[in-house]
């Protein structure tokens, strides 16, 4: 099989690349910048349409570096959706300067490609490169508001933290290579089975896990999250709260599905502890936050803790729960950040107290924001509930009862701060009521997310069917 023949498997990525270059190029000439956004969207949609034709289940391509399977297809859809919604948010987001728009969309699309490659890679080398690419692009996007100290500071912290952990991860990978003489995941797992408990194997794997934990923002690799989230332009915050996190979990899953990391008590114990700490710490610190973006940052840390439950239990249901959770999380988190973007446009503040009486200014935004927050809190019949339900179901099924109990207690604690935002929006009266028009694209993004959340909550069958049909 030749490399050229393999190209058809990465057709969507190629389309995106062409689109990205076109956007970058057109950005220099086009006056009406929204065209760039539309063009990027068109590229994403086209890529999405081509996606089903571009894979044959379980084919290894490019010398086994990439694999084309339904698992990666799922995540590719997820990233395309994420990118599309983020672009919709960005189109109306005025704090990104017009002259930078071309680069902005370019970076977004390239980031999407990197994420798509990361989930289809089946080799530690490729995994490392793709993740590094995702990170670098995310740093740049975070720092995109050049003249904003918050933006630069957040990006610098993000960068330093990311670089250090990726160096650690790389160091771990180098040892894995030394131990097994290969970087291919299946080959490693074949020779790993005997040596799972070995200390020499454990530490490199731990290093790799650390690198991925940074992506997933698990405790104690979570500390960049609030700062980066607060500093980044809100659409970018939306993106990095979903995209790279999903990449982290996808790669974790990929490695995990190759029987690496599992079946030793030590790992289970360790990941359980990480899961518990992640959700508890995230939730508790979120309680006293006053900046909405920071609050949502901590909330996304906590969400990662719930998702990790699916890993801990290591059952088919657990895996499905993780996928389902990520899929739902996409909509609710992007939706929430879209609302934050919209609201901050309107009131020029991220302070929760300034959200007072927002229901009067923009009833629709306040309403959907409430729905997203409630969904994040796991209130039925919204999608977030279904996701949490599956995660806890997996925990109960595998008899991780303590974990489930801590999880549900956490979701109660979480309710407090989600409702705090709602309380300010609905229960307080506004200081002033200028009603700003909502950009159409943003509205559209909100509607998509809102409808998806409702549909996932009330009629999750299609998503469940899809996930059930995935081959691992």
């Amino acid at each position: 099989m030749s490399i050229l023949a393999d190209l058809k498997f990465i057709l969507p990525e190629i389309i995106l690349l062409i689109c990205a270059l076109a956007v970058l190029f057109l950005g220099l000439f086009v006056k009406k910048k929204s065209i760039l956004g539309v063009l990027s969207l068109a590229g994403l949609i086209l890529a999405g349409l081509l996606l089903p034709q571009s894979y044959i289940s379980g084919t290894s391509i490019f010398f086994n570096i990439l694999v084309s399977d339904s698992f990666s297809e799922f995540f590719k859809y997820l990233f395309l959706l994420t990118a599309a919604i983020v672009i919709l948010i960005s189109i109306g987001y005025k704090r990104i300067l017009k002259e930078d728009r071309g680069e902005y969309y370019f970076l977004l699309l390239i980031l999407t490609i990197a994420m798509m490659l990361a989930v289809s890679s089946h080799n530690l080398l490729m995994i490392y490169i793709a993740i590094e690419a995702v990170s670098l692009l995310a740093y740049i996007l975070t720092a995109f508001r050049k003249n904003d100290l918050f933006s630069s500071e957040g990006a610098l912290k993000y960068f330093l933290f990311g670089s250090l952990t990726s160096a650690v991860m790389l160091y771990g990978i180098s040892f894995v290579y030394g131990l097994f003489g290969t970087l291919d995941l299946s080959t490693i797992s074949a020779s790993l089975n005997q040596a799972q408990n070995n200390f020499a194997v454990f530490v490199p794997l731990l290093f790799i896990f650390s690198g991925l934990s940074f992506k997933c923002a698990l405790v104690p690799f979570h500390m960049w999250v609030p700062d980066a989230y607060q500093g980044a332009p809100t659409p970018v915050t939306a993106l990095i709260s979903v995209g790279p996190k999903a990449v982290g979990f996808a790669v974790l899953l990929r490695i995990f599905l190759c029987d690496i990391f599992i079946s030793t008590d030590m790992w289970v114990c360790f990941v359980t502890a990480v899961s518990i700490f992640t959700m508890t710490l995230g939730n508790i610190i979120a309680i006293t936050q006053t900046n909405v973006k920071r609050l949502l940052g901590y909330s996304s840390i906590a969400q990662a803790g719930y998702i990790l439950i699916g890993f801990v239990v290591a059952t088919p249901l657990g895996i499905k729960a993780v996928l389902f959770y990520l899929f739902t999380y996409l909509f609710m988190n992007l939706g929430a950040f879209a609302c934050v973007a919209l609201i901050s446009e309107s009131i020029k503040s991220h302070d929760i107290e300034d959200y007072a009486g927002f229901y009067k200014r923009q009833p629709f935004t306040a309403f959907v924001f409430t729905v997203f927050l409630l969904s994040l809190a796991g209130i039925p019949p919204l999608g977030g509930f279904m996701a949490k339900f599956l995660v806890f179901a997996a925990a109960i099924e595998a008899r991780f009862i303590m974990l489930a109990v801590i999880g549900v207690i956490n979701s109660v604690v979480a309710l407090y701060y989600y409702v705090k935002i709602i309380r300010f929006m609905y229960l307080s009266e506004p200081k002033e009521t200028p009603i700003l028009p909502r950009p159409f694209a943003l509205n559209f993004a909100l509607v998509i997310a809102f409808v998806s959340i409702l549909v996932i909550g009330l009629w999750p069958c299609p998503v469940l069917n899809w996930i059930n049909g995935l081959q691992f």
Binding site: P380, F389, A393, L427, C461, N468
Partner: protein, 493 residues
């Protein structure tokens, strides 16, 4: 499949709430009219169900079953039996009356109010007819969100605190219930959420497992009932909530907890239920006495009524813990009666509050002269509430105690002392409200209006009718109760 009347019943309010979203905010008249029509329709459907209901049949009636989420065996399964028919009627009635009261009592943000209010009704009705645990849980939680807003936006001085407390408290309880549901699901040989299906498998679980699951459900239900010491959300929520919402809260929401015990905990986890019978009875007695004592010390009229709810729900608990036909009948009847009577009490509190803008009992006095009709209603419902024979409250308490006495003599005798304390604080309230010389401050108060009378009269009629002829409502449930007891205990006691 026959006409899905239960779905119509449950989703009609939701439909109404969506329609309300389409009505412009300014047209409050249209919004009120629509909400009233919808709740009236719900009430009519509930009466229709009452008429059509065959009470000799212990099976589920008007059953509807559709697949919902086949991947995890969740079905959309609704049904009605003797345990729920009374509560459906109660919900239909109270939501209609509270809606009328809302039209008068709510002065701001009508659109949102009625939107949430109708959603709330859907949640409550759904909880009582759902036969699938997943669906049950969805409806159960669906109640929380509208309730949060209804207390939080239209409530009193400490509304935000009360609303948040209510929300967190009940959610904390119900998430444990969720774990219990999952434990049932995964331990049953056939993985299903269907209550009727699970009833076949769950009783075979080991005692240890049953206890664990029972406790999980217990937290969920105990918060709602509420059982001491999980009751502290109740006085805050009741006091801060606007009148119609207090009516719904006390009238319907508290019943969801007790209903949960009867529908889920007892038939499914019968060994654990027997295991916990004594603690439940003791908690019932604690509720009765503790609630009564605390009620006595209150100076806020509404808070007093709220604590009296704690006390009254103790009888429900005691009746249920007895595991006798008598006790169960008493408990269900007491649930119904408490809904009617306390609903009326809160309406009456609302009447006086809307005029005097205070609920401080010490500030009233001698209102019997100024508001004779109001005094009449208040006295009637007070006496019904303190369990005066001939009025409905007595029958429920009597049967609960009778059942309780069969199983737990001492506990029941101690509980019976609660009757004296109850009489004490209610009369003390009457004395401070109606008797004595008129405080000149209230000389300008007008007596109860026609609309208010209209909301109270149906409750009054029911109170009296059940008091002298309890069979009128008991007949709907007795077959189901016998069936339930047979399932739980094997023998009828």
């Amino acid at each position: 499949m026959s006409f899905p009347i239960l779905s119509l019943l449950v989703f009609l309010p939701l439909l109404g709430s969506l329609v309300i979203l389409l009505i412009p905010k300014k047209k409050t008249g249209a919004i009120k009219a629509l909400a009233t029509v919808i709740t009236a329709a719900v009430f009519i459907i509930s009466i229709f169900l009452l008429i059509k209901f065959n009470y000799t049949n212990t099976n589920m009636q008007f059953e509807e079953r559709l697949t919902w989420i086949p991947q995890i065996n969740v079905s959309y399964h609704l049904g009605l039996d003797g345990l729920s028919i009374g509560l459906i009627f109660l919900t239909g009635l109270l939501s209609f009356l509270a809606c009328i009261s809302s039209c008068r009592d709510i002065h701001i943000r009508h659109k949102e109010y009625f939107f949430l209010y109708l959603m709330l009704i859907t949640g409550m009705l759904g909880t009582f007819v759902a036969l699938d645990l997943f669906l049950f849980y969805v409806f159960w939680e669906l109640v929380l969100v509208p309730m949060y807003f209804l207390i939080g936006i239209w409530g009193g001085a400490r509304k935000e605190y009360a609303a948040m407390k209510f929300f967190l408290y009940t959610l904390a309880g119900s998430v444990f219930m969720l774990l219990g549901i999952l434990a049932l699901y995964f331990n049953s040989p056939v993985r299903t959420f269907d209550i009727l299906e699970l009833a076949k498998y769950a009783p075979a679980f080991t005692l240890g497992l049953q206890i664990l699951i029972f406790l999980a459900f217990y937290f969920g239900f105990a918060v709602k009932v509420p059982i001491f010491p999980f009751h502290t959300w109740l006085p805050d929520a009741h006091v801060e909530a606007p009148t119609p919402i207090s009516v719904i809260l006390a009238g319907v929401l508290l019943k969801m907890g007790a209903y949960g015990f009867l529908r889920i905990s007892f038939p499914l986890l019968k060994d654990a239920a027997h295991y916990f019978a004594f603690p439940l009875a003791v908690l019932g007695a604690v509720n009765i006495l503790y609630g009564a004592f605390v009620a006595m010390a209150q100076t806020d009229f509404k808070k007093m009524v709220a604590y009296s709810s704690v006390s009254h729900m103790g009888f429900v608990l005691l009746g249920m813990a007895s595991f006798t036909v008598t006790g169960f009948n008493g408990a269900i009847l007491q649930m119904f009666n408490h809904g009617i009577i306390t609903g009326a009490m809160f309406l009456l509190v609302g009447v006086i509050y809307s005029r005097a803008h205070t609920r401080d009992l010490d500030k009233f006095g001698g209102l019997g002269v100024k508001m004779p009709v109001y005094a009449g209603f208040l006295s009637l419902f007070t006496f019904a509430s303190l369990g005066l024979p001939g009025l409905s409250g007595f029958v429920g308490e009597f049967l609960s105690l009778l059942g309780g006495y069969y199983t737990f003599k001492t506990v029941t005798i101690i509980s019976a002392l609660g009757l004296v304390i109850t009489a004490g604080y209610f009369l003390y309230m009457l004395q401070r409200m109606l008797l004595g010389s008129l405080n000149e401050k209230w000389a300008g108060l007008s007596d109860i209006s026609k609309v208010e009378i209209f909301t109270l009269v149906p409750l009054m009629i029911i109170t009296v009718v059940i008091g002298v002829y309890p069979l009128s409502i008991l007949k709907y449930q007795s077959a189901a109760v016998i069936d339930l007891i047979t399932k739980i205990s094997g023998v009828i006691q």
